[in-house]
Assembly symmetry: C3
Homo-oligomer: 335 residues x 3
Amino acid sequence: MHSLGELAARFGLELHGDPQLRVSRVATLSQATDGALSFYANSRYKKHLAATRATAVVIGPGDVSMCPVAALVSPNPYLAYARIASLMHPPAAPAAGIHPSAVVAATANVAASASIGPMCVIEEGAVVGERARIGPGCVVLAGARIGDDTRLMPRVTVYPSVSIGRRCLLHSGAVIGADGFGFAPDHGSWFKVPQLGSVRIGDDVEIGANTTIDRGAIGDTIVDEGAKLDNQIQVGHNVVIGAHTAIAACTGISGSTTIGRRCMVGGMVGFAGHLTIADDVTVTGCTLVSASIREAGSYSSGMPAVETRLWRRMVANLRRTVKRRDDGGTVQNGH
Amino acid sequence: MHSLGELAARFGLELHGDPQLRVSRVATLSQATDGALSFYANSRYKKHLAATRATAVVIGPGDVSMCPVAALVSPNPYLAYARIASLMHPPAAPAAGIHPSAVVAATANVAASASIGPMCVIEEGAVVGERARIGPGCVVLAGARIGDDTRLMPRVTVYPSVSIGRRCLLHSGAVIGADGFGFAPDHGSWFKVPQLGSVRIGDDVEIGANTTIDRGAIGDTIVDEGAKLDNQIQVGHNVVIGAHTAIAACTGISGSTTIGRRCMVGGMVGFAGHLTIADDVTVTGCTLVSASIREAGSYSSGMPAVETRLWRRMVANLRRTVKRRDDGGTVQNGH
Amino acid sequence: MHSLGELAARFGLELHGDPQLRVSRVATLSQATDGALSFYANSRYKKHLAATRATAVVIGPGDVSMCPVAALVSPNPYLAYARIASLMHPPAAPAAGIHPSAVVAATANVAASASIGPMCVIEEGAVVGERARIGPGCVVLAGARIGDDTRLMPRVTVYPSVSIGRRCLLHSGAVIGADGFGFAPDHGSWFKVPQLGSVRIGDDVEIGANTTIDRGAIGDTIVDEGAKLDNQIQVGHNVVIGAHTAIAACTGISGSTTIGRRCMVGGMVGFAGHLTIADDVTVTGCTLVSASIREAGSYSSGMPAVETRLWRRMVANLRRTVKRRDDGGTVQNGH
């Protein structure tokens, strides 16, 4: 239970309403009941704001006049909400120590304040930092390093010599440091090129469920501090992802591509290899990035759905422009 | 071994042939030998039907005249085949009980008729229903609920408080309830928005290998009864998937999108966030759904492959239509 | 430590420089220091070659004149480099034997020379071949076969009766043999079609992290010898992938499609089902293959990104070609 007065003071928010009112949980505007705190940051929910039964709403200064209940006012209500929600719902912290079922090599260096869950395997020379929490069924291979306060959710694999920074969060099924995809043609078959680099992940990085980040071929694959990766993302060998770049689910980044800082990449985007993407680039969902991007800005190639019948004709018309050129015409001189 | 007479009676099928004939297994039309049951439901296999050495074929009334062997006739031969195959090849059921290597919290509630495989971890307050089967290496975190007769194949992760219905089947590597992808911008970096909702999965849902379903930010992510999800699908936070909707592999659904009932979604489809998709919508493979779909029907934007040389010219021509408008013309008035 | 003379002799390379020089590791041209071996196979790195501080460089005959240091000359420098790197950096081989924490069925047949890691589960009737190495947390279900010298990295799942060849490498999170996606419509819901086939993987196949290969519905899903699959690839039931075909990450192959030998498939490619793809076909990244490909060659439909503002107009223009046809005109007769 927190009083609105206490929350306003702690987070530097302007309060419209009774500072004695108390909130014990967060809820959406439409589902909130007495004792719930909600937030308003998207005009599509204006109706829900008008009808909310929340005890208080975190809201921007321009919208506070529409708020039917107590208001905690912030220029960035979504951020203010996130800070309050983090205070009200702290993540559970397992007790320090190594579960008896875990297999930890004698030469592994596990901090006394760290927690190693059941069924974990920590190999020789691995390092697990202060207060790090390794969930059930994780495998940390030889010489890998897990930074202080980093959490691995269940069933994460960290390959040999991979280095993960502090305060990171890796979700279940993530695989960090598997071999990059490198083969040399050898008379009709493929000869495996040893993948001898590693992966270096900075501080405050989040990596989603079943995301894979391959080790470098010679040098390392790098994810810089504060980068946020969603689920089922594939990061090829020797990729560099700049600090504070956010990438949505199902995106794939081919080998040796460098993505700048503070980029925002939508879902299911494909990056070709050996590209350089500038800082502050936005790429919308389902786009193919096949060439380097030198300037900040927004880039797209995702084709929006239409009725299948129309789509077939759009495709036919696009093909026809080529056929006509084959007939000696061009789109221009055909007119 | 089942006699054709027994199968015809049990499944209400019309039999053309000797009711004493027996079948012991299923096989394709082309690979079937004596004692095998096959089915015919796709005219592309007409030649295989004519040449089949199966003992009997499940077939539709309109095709029975083409059947060179005994026929079990059904208006829906594929369904009839599936029912017979399920009878002839029941899934193996492990013995009830908890494997000694499993780690089950004292406060977990595991039905005596349930089976918990080796290396499983079942945390505090988790519930595992009657006859549920938890495969090797699964992790069921605190307070999660697994319904009666639900099967988890090996290495499935169920996050805290997730609820899974009855008679569900989750394949290996599935991750249910990881954090949604939510971050508030905070002066050039990202502040994590706590993901406080959960995931609710209805009865009779199948979830494919390495599919990920994120927990809600505040409310829950929902997969309704009878929905079928293929492998490597990503379901974002607060998504709702309607009853009996089927989604093919590699599709990604962004946060807060609602998909209707009985929809059929192809592979590698991308849904933007905050959309509403009507009931009975079909989306073909590799389509980007970037706006809500209000009416049942079929929708597409997947571009079919052509020779690379032609494709480059199609792209150049499409770009040219824009350049020309920059020069003051338009596709229309250019004519 | 290897002398250049020894390497030249062992791999049949022409040496330009002092045969007594020794190298102990590999490095990129730009990061190499004394004692490092590098290679030059891509003209984009010409400047790095000129400035390299490597002790020796593996290089082609046409480029050797540009090499400022000792040169090991090969017509295929990338292959020669890979062979030398494999010699200098052999993969670690764990000791033979079964870790005490592993659960191995009495009826499983594990070669004495094989290594079974901690937390593994090997079920009844499974076979693990000579010198095979099963990493921590792997699950090999009933009757599955792992060939001689095959390595499973941590947390791989092999379903019942799956057969994997010799000298294969499967990366963490791979799931081989989960049910194909098959359901028969049954009065508004779906009836599961039992997936009774298996998966057969040939010799010398590599399978990436979190890749999924489904078992066949009746017959088997097949990956032929020498095929190389990257991470997060989805292979549907009854697919056949020809020998020595290489497929990049995030590609999805729908059921019953057959891909030829020596094909090269880019990342995030989608294949529709029931197709036949010829030998020696190249498909570039983010392409949708919706029809069979009968001739070798390169095929594409990945749309390259442009500024979002321009892209919106390109899409509008493509739509307009259809609208105009609705008005009775066509692209052709409009001229």
